[in-house]
């Protein structure tokens, strides 16, 4: 009886030490769920969700402060992926935060109108606008995420939204039309 208690106690202490060691040795830095959520978000950094960028929104979701349906650029696919990751129910996009646009857009600066005020450069979250004070600015199209944050600060309204057109490399085959649900039944003559 005593021997059994002793053995079990020793074992318990041993395993406890082992677990304690493992917990310290293999400690995970940071919150991995935030990275996983951030990987799903589209990284437009548009702030439509109410947070200053995708990562703060990911952190808010992880803390349980924000819902998963606040990201218009991510659209339904993004919500489904987030619901999948977090084991939550899929919800429709909260339209308070904006509408999902099927077609991707970028902005273009009308260079004839630009007065070189640098306000758009300060607004751009991904440094996709080049220019200097009193010099004409321009958008690097490949870097633009289409967040449209540069449009409100522009004092002369010279920034316009243009859709991104497909070229041969980015073109996708259309989904074939779904087949008939029921084969046509031939009427007996």
């Amino acid at each position: 009886m005593l021997a059994a208690i002793l053995i079990l106690s020793v074992l318990a202490i041993l395993f406890g030490l082992l677990l304690g060691f493992a917990a310290m040795r293999y400690k995970v830095e940071g919150d991995p769920i935030v990275d996983q959520i951030d990987a799903i978000l589209p990284q437009t950094q548009c702030g439509q969700c109410g947070y200053p960028g995708c990562r703060p929104y990911a952190e808010a979701i992880a803390r349980g402060e924000a819902d998963i349906n606040q990201c218009p650029p991510g659209g339904e696919a993004g919500i489904v992926a987030l619901a999948d990751l977090l084991g939550r129910d899929v919800k429709p996009l909260n339209d308070e935060h904006g509408e999902h646009k099927e077609k991707k857009t970028v902005v273009i600066i009308d260079e004839k109108l630009c007065i070189g005020c640098t306000l758009c450069i300060q607004a751009c979250p991904v440094d996709a606008i080049v220019g200097a004070a009193k010099q004409m600015h321009t958008v690097i199209k490949d870097e633009c995420t289409g967040c449209n944050l540069c449009i409100p600060p522009c004092p002369v309204d010279c920034i316009h939204i243009i859709p991104v057109e497909d070229d041969i490399k980015t073109w996708c085959w259309p989904e074939p039309e779904a087949e008939l649900e029921q084969p046509p039944i031939e009427e007996p003559v």
């Binding site: 991904v126 995420t145 074939p176 087949e179």
Partner: protein, 551 residues
Amino acid sequence: MKRRLWHFHGGLHLPEHKQASMTKPVVAAALPDEIILPMQQHIGSPAEPVVKVGEHVLKGQRVAKASEYVSAPVHASTSGEVIAIEERGVPHPSGLPLLSIVIKPDGKDEWTELKPVPDYAQLDPSALRNVIRDAGIVGLGGAGFPSFIKLNPGPDNAVDTLILNGAECEPYITCDAMLMQERPRDIIDGLLIMKHALRARHCIIAIEDNKKVALTLLKNSLQEHEAEFLKIVSIPTIYPSGGEKQLIRILTGKEVPSHGLPIDIGVVCHNVATAAAICKVINEGKPLVERYITVTGETLDQPRNLKVRIGTPCIDLLNACGWREDQTDEVLMGGPMMGFGIPALDMPTVKTSNCLLARPKDQPHQQPAMPCIRCGQCAAVCPAQLLPQQMYWYARARDFDKIQAYNLFDCIECGCCAYVCPSRIPLVQYYRFAKTEIWAKERDKEKADHARQRHEFRLQRLERKKKEDEERRRRKKELLKKTQPKPDSEADIKQAAIQAAMDRVKAKRATQKQQKKNIENLNEKQQQAIEAVEKRRQRLRNAGADNEENP
């Protein structure tokens, strides 16, 4: 001795329809009114134009240069004037335009100065590859991968077998068969050049056994000493034996690994037309400016093979073969199994165009598709040993992870599954749809990662700037403190500051009192008036003084 051959899984025996276009010899197609040369006729980055509008170019002159490693230059296919460099429609399922050089032929068809390679055996393989690269040679079997890359085995790979693909397994297409009949020696010479570049040990030319004439002619042009390392092999006619992986399986019994390349198992595979084109480059110095194209179909009066200048509009070739437009449903580029409908017939033929197939109206594939009954015929015929119906379900459900787990990217889009499907489901379209969607998702992901990086960098930069500004302010303050004498206490500093301010105000008022205001820029009249006033004032003062003395 009969060579041992293997089988690949599945495959189909299809009606061949090849005889119609093989009865007449190959003739050169007439010079068109316009030659349109798209900048992308190959896999890789588009070429960059090196000519200007209005420039006169000669046949074989380079008009666009390769932009990157995986790219190919483009050469003028006739002499004439460059009349435009603009976006033009190209034969691609999307129908989207591509930058193209448009040449108005001058009718002389005058060659530029040609530089043949006199003795290629003396040339280093790398120099040989450069010659082939500069000639714009790409795989003429259909994919259009730049050939010089496939002629570079890399430092760690030894090439055991070089296979020349003359199977041409797709129905209707006969351009390779006609090439083998008309220029067998060119093909063998081209193969020897490739062998030199690759340092391959064995060579095989594989031909389906329905091309007896080509087989005999090739065998006849083979010299005795060449027969030691070069075998011409007849393989059974079964679609798609001309698929690269399938052909390698038939000839060697080896499987190219999934996501792998033939070079991984010591094999390199090229098309016979590519070999003939390489022979022309080395022996005659002529870059890739023309190719054989089969123009065939039920709605043509004279289906045949034509020697076509690359860039000739499709409509010119169809008209040359007695095309009955009113009976045609659509014109395919490529064969009936893997071809695609040409969006508009004024589009040019390109380096990879092997066949124009005019389809009559009322084909069975135009009837609506019906639900999948899970008969499994598609899996039985799949030459890549995939499960087409599973992939079909996942493509419909847009479950792209799952469809990749079923090895979607091993699908060669041969069309066997759709051909046998009793419900006429366009299976290959579903796979193409899924493939391009997956690529688009990957591009989006890459773009998002890039944006995240840039955003994080921006945040870091702003943070750093803030810190630097703070640091600068702190230093400035310190500097001020050092230069001023140290006051005793806070109250004293305040008192001193107040005193100093009051002194400043006093001094200012004193100077202001002494100064007379508004005395600049006076004219004579004003000056006189002032003097008069001053005089009166003086008089009054004097009078006042007298009064005080004498009240």
